[in-house]
Amino acid sequence: MSLENSPRFLNTAERYLRWTRWLLAPLYLIGALALWAAFVHAPTERVMGEVQRIFYFHVGAAWTGFLAFFVVFVAGIVYLVRRNLFWDELAASAAEIGVVFTTIVLTTGPIWARPIWNTWWPWGDPRVMTTLVLWLIYVAYLILRSSLAEGDRRARLAAVFGIIGFIDVPIVWISIRWWRTIHPVVITRTGARLAPEMLQAMLIAVAAFTLLFATLLFFRTAMRLQDNAAEELAQGVRERSG
C-alpha cells in the first residue's frame, strides 16, 4: 500500500483547519468593524448618495479576486517545479474562491452603476472589462480542471493555463485602456476626493476581505488535501484486498 501523500496531506490539512479556527475570531471582529465603518463611520457621499457604500465591499472583493489569481499563478509555478500535488490543490482552492469574489464584484458593480450612471453595464470601462475577462479565465480554468482526471497531468495543464492567464490579464487591461482613450465612453469615473473616514472604511473592508480569503483558502485547501488523501487511502485498501 503506497501512501505517498496521504500522511503529509492529512497532517497539513489538520494544521490548516486549526489555523482556520484561529482566524475565525479576528475575521468576525474585523468583519463587524468593516460593516460599522461602511455604514456608520463613513459619511454619505454627496453626489452618489447612500448606494455608494457598496463601493467599500466592491473594492474589497475586487482586490481579493485579483489576489486569488496571483495565488493561482504562483502555486502553479511551484507545482511545475516541485511536482507536489499540495500546490495544485492550493491553486484549485484559490481559483474557486477567486471566482466567488469576482462574481461578487461583477454583480455589485452593475447594482452600483445603475442608479448613478443610469446604465447596468459600462462597456469599455477598463476595470469592468478586465474583471469580466478575469472571471472568464477563472471559469475556463475550473472547466479545464473538471474535464481532466485527477493527477499530475491535470495539475500541469491547469498550472500552464493559470500562468498564461496571469500573463494575459495586464495585457487585456492595457488594450482596453488604450481602446478607451480612442473612443471615450460617456461614463467617466468620478475622481472624487475620498474623505479620510471613507479611506479608512475602504481599508478596513479590504482587510476584512483579505482575512476572509485567507480563512477560506486554508479551509478549502485542507478539505481538498483530505479528499486527496482519502482517495489515495481508498485506492490502497482496494489494492490490498483485491
Binding site: M48, E50, P115, M223, Q226
Partner: protein, 58 residues
Amino acid sequence: MLGDILQRFKATEFLFAGYTVIWTVLLLYFLYLNKKQREVSKKLQGIYETLHKDKPED
C-alpha cells in the same frame, strides 16, 4: 423636492440589493463548502471503518 426624496430612497434600495447580493453569493459558497466537507468526512470515515474491520486483533 419630492423627486429628490424618491431619488434618495431608490438609491438606498440599490444599496440594500447590493448588500444582499454579497451575502447571498457568500452563503451559496458556504453551502457548497458544507456539502463538500460532508462528502470528504464520509469518505474518511468509510476508510477508517474499513481499516479497523481488517484488524480484528485490535
